[in-house]
Assembly symmetry: C2
Homo-oligomer: 283 residues x 2
């Protein structure tokens, strides 16, 4: 497993592999890897000759009051997990290399970031779109894997790739959960034991909604109020949003008659957690 | 010379050439080609195995009161000039293919578009940056040639390539002029005979500034007032801007002591013309 610390080295490595007609799969991350990330690497591994992982805590996707300075890190463990998952190159760039003096370009999408997390994190998705485009141009992959836990991010990357005509296939990795249902997230490390129990309110909400929709409930408003009550029955919780929306455009749905995305953001203590599920009322 | 009318065909053509290790040079244009464009193709031709020309009047770089609907076109003649200049593929995309339904991505630079033409054409350079990025991703060139007449555009593309880590070498083509000094431009076709005479006020202004700087004049304010007087001595002229600025950042310079860009935009009748020159006071 090679470790590449500059854009120039990474790009040269990729160009060399491409010259040898080797196919590249890419998994971009912010590090502090967990089984969710591992599942993305495992998804990509059999599909290509080379598997590239990037670890970069991208400052431009954090708002001024967000957790950039405290974001957890454990590079040593990340490299162990990467090697075990069959990664052939790890890209570990420095901020100054990614954003040198005079850097001034931003990539923004119009509609997709107006929904869900984008409402509460106004700079987030421009930061994501810009850094992912940069990483794509540096790593030059044939395909890239993104997790469905960040569903809005996944949709934005899919649209970005279409809109900018990037010749990269985007693959979606399922949400990986702890045994009790909590979606894996690097931010789970922030939770106290009591908060860890309250964090279950998210996955329980998804279960509840799935059950009610299966029983024939079609009203988003009613479902939202039941979910909100459930979440607030757990201590230290504060709902940021509960959204039933179209899986493609993320536009709100009032009456659930076709496939719907239920997406949640909840603060548990100071930790902001998200989760989601696709629900098909037909089934 | 192949003519490719869809993104898919163009991208497949380029990928095939790259598989054969052929190098690609790219000249993006809006068509109605003149000797300025020809010089860009001639600059690129000896540097690569394949020379790709695109002709696309990009709607997103025109403001609401600009000349999108009247922009001149002569595809037949363009193809003749392209073939003569050694172009091996022409990309002629349709608007709907470049901007399908749900298209929503925009690329913006922070500082470079705040100067010169960007002040008067607020949407222009985001449109340029976005379409050029798309064209780069479709054509996948090793190098691309842009004319120095659109100096601000050239600087923006150079910065865009740096910022987005595009692996493309940007080459600059000299301004090509008519015998009497008028910079070649597709928009010269709009000029009446009388306006054609007044259009000379731009290149005459560059000559005047060069002379005065050579004689030791250092004050931008003084030079600007002399140029303005010269331009307005020609009928039907209206100065939009006269700028002495740093060639890299386009920031205004008050006292000319190092290399300076003099850039002009002048309306002659309803036709907006631009021109520029790099002046080195040391010489």
């Amino acid at each position: 497993m090679e470790i590449l610390k500059t854009k120039a080295d990474m790009q040269a490595w990729s160009k060399n592999k491409k010259k040898q007609s080797r196919t590249l799969c890419f998994v971009p991350t912010m590090g502090y890897l967990h089984q969710g990330h591992v599942s993305l690497m495992e998804k990509g591994r059999p599909l290509c000759d080379e598997l590239v992982l990037s670890i970069f805590v991208n400052p431009t996707q954090f708002g001024p009051n967000e957790d950039l300075s405290s974001y957890p890190s454990n590079i040593e463990n990340d490299l162990l997990l990467a090697e075990k998952a069959g990664v052939t190159a790890v890209f570990l760039p420095h901020k100054k290399d990614m954003y040198p003096e005079h850097f001034q370009t931003e990539i923004k999408l119009q509609s997709l970031p107006r929904h869900l997390c984008g409402k509460f994190r106004p700079v987030h998705f421009a930061g994501v779109a810009t850094v992912v485009t940069k990483l794509f141009n540096i790593v030059m992959p044939d395909m890239a894997v993104f997790g469905m836990k960040d569903y809005q991010q996944l949709q934005i990357i899919r649209q970005l790739v279409l809109d900018l005509d990037l010749d990269i296939r985007i693959l979606a990795g399922e949400i990986i959960r702890e045994k009790d249902g909590l979606a894996m997230s690097s931010r789970n490390a922030y939770l106290s034991e009591a908060q860890r129990a309250s964090a279950l309110s998210l996955s329980r909400s998804l279960d509840l909604a799935r059950e009610l929709v299966a029983k024939g409930e079609k009203s988003s408003a009613l479902l939202r109020s039941k979910i909100e009550a459930l979440i607030h029955s757990f201590p230290e919780t504060e709902v940021e949003y509960i959204s039933f929306c179209r899986p493609e455009t993320l536009e709100e749905i009032e009456v659930i008659e076709t496939k719907v995305l239920l997406a949640l953001a909840v603060k548990v203590g100071k930790t902001r957690l998200i989760d989601n599920v696709l629900i098909n009322p037909g089934r």
